[in-house]
């Protein structure tokens, strides 16, 4: 194992000291790109607020894991994606979906279980996909996506394409065996995958202290000879700085990287988690919101550097609210999938059997 890896310490960086917006990766952003980041972060927030409303009105069922509070992580990392980069995440996936450019309409309609949804109503909140945007889900089983992320990166290497896969997971997911198996594999084989641990401090109602024996999660990489780093997730510029290093390393060195990003979710684990003020204090939530809200942090920075004015920021906010409102109207007015859709999209060969060449029975319904 390279000594450089072993000696790296889990020092907490003081975020107040560094002006991440002045670092080269952020300095090079055009005004439009910075506005774009703000729109993405705000768009995710307003979309999810709208979805929460619809859920509370009984229009959306099932699970709804909100990303509110964590928006700068997905927005920052997606903004760094190059031509051959791919991403994949868990069930808290709306933010990543919108960040890669999926439309609010198709996402909202999916939550409603409508035919116009991104998965035609077959996946739901936890299972958004957009392969055309190199976004591979949306996965409901904790850490189940972690070997898949390795596979995306393996395919890049196999084909000789320069790129990386970014695979997001939670602070609870790190304790799954599949993830640990995969860490060994990607290091052994030199696979350009970046594991981004979105450490929001809780896995459902269990705090990190109560679920992980060692507080630094990324440090586990050392056991496999994997380089790692940590950063804060409320400032999109800090996310970009740390993720850029990680992704560049993976692409250039053909090696994995673990980036642990400390972030926070404001809402319960899912909307059904009404008890989330029982396992954490109201002050904890309010303090984070007050000091580290990714929208406020970014807005202040963009106003300071004159990218935005109060008025233009307000205008963007209104636009995002309107777009979210339109999406819920779109979802409401969309039809449910027809019953015939239950048995499509199961097998590629059946869906593509235009000339009826296939032999045998595929579905066993009387």
């Amino acid at each position: 194992m390279p000594s450089k890896v072993a000696t790296q310490k889990p020092v907490k960086k003081s975020t107040s000291k560094t002006n991440f917006e002045t670092l080269p990766i952020n300095k090079k952003l055009s005004k439009e790109e910075k506005v774009g980041l703000y729109e993405t972060i705000l768009g995710i927030r307003r979309f999810e607020e709208k979805s929460l409303q619809a859920y509370n009105q009984g229009k959306i069922g099932g699970f709804l894991h909100l990303y509110i509070g964590q928006e700068a992580v997905a927005a920052g990392i997606v903004s760094l994606m190059e031509e051959n980069d791919h991403i994949i995440t868990a069930y808290r996936d709306h933010g990543h979906a919108l960040a890669v450019g999926m439309g609010m309409n198709e996402c909202m309609a999916e939550l409603y279980g409508k035919y116009t949804g991104c998965s035609k109503g077959k996946g739901g909140s936890m299972h958004f996909f957009a392969p055309d945007k190199r976004y591979w889900g949306g996965h409901g089983i904790v850490a189940g996506q972690t070997p898949l992320g390795a596979g995306l990166a393996f395919a890049l290497k196999y084909k000789g394409l320069k790129g990386c896969a970014v695979c997001f997971l939670g602070d609870g997911a790190v304790n799954q065996g599949s993830f640990m198996e995969t860490l060994n594999l990607v290091s052994l084989w030199g696979i350009p995958v970046v594991y981004v641990i979105e450490n929001n401090g809780y896995s459902m109602g269990t705090s990190l202290k109560r679920s992980s024996a060692e507080e630094s999660l990324a440090k586990r990489g050392e056991a496999f000879g994997i380089k790692w780093d940590t950063c804060e997730g409320h400032d999109v510029f800090e996310v970009r700085e740390a993720a850029n290093k990680a992704m560049t390393y993976a692409r250039e060195e053909l090696k994995p990287f673990i980036l642990e990003i400390r972030t926070y979710r404001y809402r319960g684990h899912s909307v059904a988690d009404a008890n989330h003020e029982k396992y954490r204090t109201k002050e904890e939530i309010e303090t984070y919101k007050k000091n580290k809200d990714p929208i406020i942090v970014l807005k202040n920075k963009l106003i300071a550097d004159k990218t935005l004015t109060e008025a233009s920021a307000k205008e963007i906010d209104q636009r995002m609210k309107d777009e979210a409102a339109v999406s819920s109207k779109f979802a409401e007015e969309s039809p449910y999938p027809p019953k015939s859709e239950i048995t499509t999209d199961v097998y590629w060969t059946v869906d593509n059997d235009k000339d009826q060449q296939l032999k045998g029975t595929y579905f066993f319904n009387d």
């Binding site: 791919h86 994949i88 949804g117 991104c118 998965s119 035609k120 109503g121 077959k122 996946g123 739901g124 299972h127 996909f129 957009a130 392969p131 055309d132 591979w136 889900g137 949306g138 996965h139 409901g140 089983i141 189940g144 972690t146 070997p147 898949l148 992320g149 390795a150 596979g151 995306l152 990166a153 393996f154 395919a155 890049l156 196999y158 084909k159 896969a165 065996g177 599949s178 198996e181 995969t182 060994n184 594999l185 052994l188 499509t344 999209d345 199961v346 097998y347 590629w348 060969t349 869906d351 593509n352 296939l358 032999k359 045998g360 029975t361 595929y362 579905f363 066993f364 009387d366």
Partner: protein
């Protein structure tokens, strides 16, 4: 025609497909430098190198999932399970991710992987190494599963499986690896979803799959010589998709059916076949459908008892005689 082993037939299929498509690669434990735990991949690493024939650590979940993820970008990995029993530690990857990703994305993606390896008992290794999970796989819409009973089918089905754009499980059998059959020199494939009438007969249909088809063939000889019973043997070959027509045609001809499989009986493949026959050929039946499965208990270690636990000639003959009584 050449007389080759089941093992050699599979190896030929793998080699031919590696040569045909640059995206086909093989991964699994000991498949490369060790030449495969059962020597199915012998010589392939030497010939095709590290990129195409890849040794993995003992991490079924990780390498199965990696294979699935890579297939989303067009790689066509053939994953070897040293035993299909070991697929259980990769359950989430195979039974959630391989089977359902296409569906949950509304058809935006597909998972062209093959998972292959031996799935059989009768080898005196106890319950953890003797699973026949084709029923379990078939219970997951999105997955396909085939059970070749001979070298010809093993090669032809393997080639079809590799070319298929959906996840296909190929259930092999360690007791067949060394057996020989005639296999054509020229290229061929066996389509999924097509059963094979191994022997025509008029008195009773024995519907079976995997190695049990070979045991049934032997039983049919004894039935002929000692009991003057002319049994028809239908080898399913493919479990999902399933060739219902061949099953039903046979039963409509003989009016009696004995179903033989190595699965445990409860919710085994033949529970479904039995339902199919009673539902679609009820009026054609002259007797209840009989089943011969593994005796319903965890696989026993003790060799003579295990040989009795899984279907054998005697148990098949007894069942046929009961069905015809």
């Amino acid at each position: 025609m050449a007389l080759i082993t089941y093992r050699e037939a599979i190896k030929q299929a793998l080699a031919e497909e590696i040569e045909r498509d640059e995206n086909v690669c093989i991964m699994g434990e000991e498949v490369a430098q060790y030449n495969g735990a059962y020597k199915v991949t012998e010589g392939l690493w030497e010939k095709y190198g590290d990129k195409r024939v890849i040794d993995t650590p003992i991490s079924e979940a990780a390498f199965s999932g990696l294979a699935i993820g890579s297939s989303m970008l067009g790689i066509r990995p053939v994953v070897e399970m040293m035993f299909m029993s070991f697929s259980y530690v990769a359950f989430d990857q195979l039974f959630n991710n391989a089977s359902f990703c296409r569906y949950m994305s509304g058809g935006l993606m597909n998972v062209p992987i093959v998972v292959r390896g031996p799935a059989n008992g009768g080898t005196n290794v106890g319950a953890t190494h003797s699973h026949t999970p084709e029923n379990l796989i078939a219970n997951h819409p999105g997955l396909k599963v085939v059970c070749p009973s001979n070298a010809y089918d093993a090669k032809g089905l393997m080639k079809s499986a590799i070319r298929d754009n959906d996840p296909v499980f190929v259930m092999e059998n360690t007791l067949l690896y060394g057996e020989k059959w005639e296999v054509p020199e020229e290229e061929y494939v066996v389509e999924l979803g097509v059963a094979n009438v191994l022997k025509e007969g008029k008195d009773i249909s024995i519907i079976t799959h995997g190695r049990c088809a070979m045991i049934a063939l032997k039983a049919a000889e004894t039935l002929k010589t000692e009991h003057n019973i002319d049994a028809e043997i239908v080898d399913l070959r493919s479990i999902r998709p399933l060739d219902e027509a061949t099953i039903l045609n046979s039963v409509r001809k003989t009016h009696r059916a004995v179903l033989v499989e190595e699965n445990k009986p409860y919710c085994g493949v033949d529970a479904q076949i039995s339902h199919l026959i009673q539902y679609k050929a009820f009026d054609d039946l002259d007797a209840p459908i009989h089943r011969v499965s593994a005796i319903d208990a965890p696989q026993i270690y003790s060799k003579p008892l295990e040989d009795w636990q899984i279907p054998n000639e005697t148990r098949i003959i007894d069942s046929v005689l009961k069905c015809l009584a």
